[in-house]
């Protein structure tokens, strides 16, 4: 039986990818940020997951305004890094897990979560930056990846509650898959940031740290936070944090916090990172 064993949350700022690709991780500006991910890389080697369900958002790379799916699951064999206007990142192609992805799609759709099925999709920094942060710079990514893209670009994004409940449905779907697989789920994006308008540069450390506290032990309540609070207090792009709730919903009620990290700034953004392990089997 497949099983979700752990969750990872991380911001996915494009400048972090550029810092890695341009060998700037030890520059004074970047060094404190990358130090915060050293534990995660070691932990990842021990955990050695077979599959990572990677919740992220596309930033006008694979999806333009012709189609804007709220939730899309990628069921293809392979996904290429997207050219976001300055050429694709020099990272390996991402290998999918079509069997588990299709099983999740089929199961959660019948469980009332209507995912859009995508077979071809280039994956942008939202997906590849978390891979680099957790796996470093390998020749090939050491796990199969199931991308789940969430719309947070065209308002409204799905609610925190909807995301949290989808996470629970994904966990149920994974557990009904026959093959023995060690599966992780990652939630990416955030934390507080605003990239636009006269208020650009907004960072709310209090909001972020409260979010980091609550998502560990009080996620049911956190899931009720309305969109407006994210937009108003964490910046227009801070709404990305709802994606962390899909990750949290897919974990058990009881989790062990293995790592917590918070850093300001990476470019325009506050960076947050959590590693959570499932304590015991569900219920």
């Amino acid at each position: 039986m497949a099983k979700i064993t752990a969750g990872v949350a991380t911001s996915h700022v494009p400048a972090i990818g550029a810092a890695i690709d341009n060998k700037k991780t030890q520059d004074p500006y970047w060094q404190p940020l990358f130090e915060g991910y050293e534990y995660g890389k070691e932990w990842m080697k021990e955990q050695n997951p077979d599959v990572v369900i990677l919740v992220f958002n596309d930033h006008a790379s694979a999806f333009d305004l012709n189609f804007v799916p709220t939730f899309a699951i990628a069921c293809g064999e392979e996904f290429k890094p997207a050219d976001e206007g300055w050429g694709p990142r020099p990272v390996p192609n991402v290998q999918g897990h079509p069997q588990l992805a299709s099983h999740i799609a089929q199961t959660v759709i019948q469980d009332n979560f209507d995912l859009t099925v995508v077979n071809t999709m280039d994956v942008d920094h939202g997906l590849t930056v978390p891979l680099s942060l957790m796996f470093g710079e390998p020749e090939n990514w050491p796990a199969k990846i199931i991308p789940i893209a969430v719309n947070v670009v065209l308002y409204p994004a799905p609610s925190g509650q909807r995301c949290f409940n989808l996470g629970k449905a994904i966990a149920k779907a994974v557990e009904s898959f026959d093959d023995d697989l060690n599966v992780q789920i990652w939630g990416t994006g955030g934390m507080s940031h605003q990239l636009q308008g006269p208020r650009a540069g907004l960072i709310n450390k209090e909001f972020d740290n409260d979010f980091l506290d609550q998502i560990v032990d009080n996620a049911e309540e956190l899931a009720k936070k309305p969109h407006f609070d994210y937009l108003n207090e964490a910046g227009s792009e801070g709404i990305e944090l709802v994606m962390w709730l899909i990750m949290r919903g897919a974990l058990n009620d009881d989790v062990e916090l293995k790592k917590r990290f918070y850093h300001v700034p990476a470019s325009n953004t506050a960076v947050g990172h959590l590693i959570l392990e499932n304590k015991q089997s569900r219920k």
């Binding site: 976001e84 227009s236 470019s267």
Partner: protein, 129 residues
């Protein structure tokens, strides 16, 4: 007052909702076209002529030529789409963001190093006064 679009009251912020997406559809699709190198070449050869190929309003076209990002957003542009313009121009996200705030890039970069723009009563919505 209806709470439905309360988000329009957040200071200094344009929320890209479905009605803005409708107004800005062609502007944003023009931005997407810049992800392809041959299109970038044609755009830089004659920006106005390239923009005239798109069914955009004259205001939208002029705001692109002026690289006035706040104006583009008021006319339905979304920041992730508009990012294709400044990426093509070879400008970083931080540089582009600074132009929207009225700060210079060094001032803006220093503000971020100092922990970012702090939330205050003036830059968050705290209820109708």
């Amino acid at each position: 007052m209806s709470d439905e679009k309360l988000y329009k009251k957040i200071p200094g912020t344009t929320v890209f909702d479905a009605s803005m997406a409708s107004i800005g559809f062609h502007l944003n699709q023009f931005c997407m076209s810049l992800m392809k190198a041959p299109n970038r070449e044609r755009f830089y050869a004659d920006q106005k002529a390239y923009l005239d190929e798109w069914p955009m309003t004259e205001d939208q076209k002029q705001s692109v030529l002026d690289r006035d990002y706040n104006k583009m957003m008021s006319l339905g542009g979304n920041i992730y789409f508009l990012a294709k313009i400044f990426s093509s121009d070879g400008i970083s996200f931080q540089d582009a963001a600074s132009t929207m705030t009225g700060m210079t890039l060094p001032e803006y970069a220093q503000m971020m190093l100092d922990g970012g723009r702090k939330p205050t009563e003036d830059n968050t919505y705290t209820g109708d006064k």
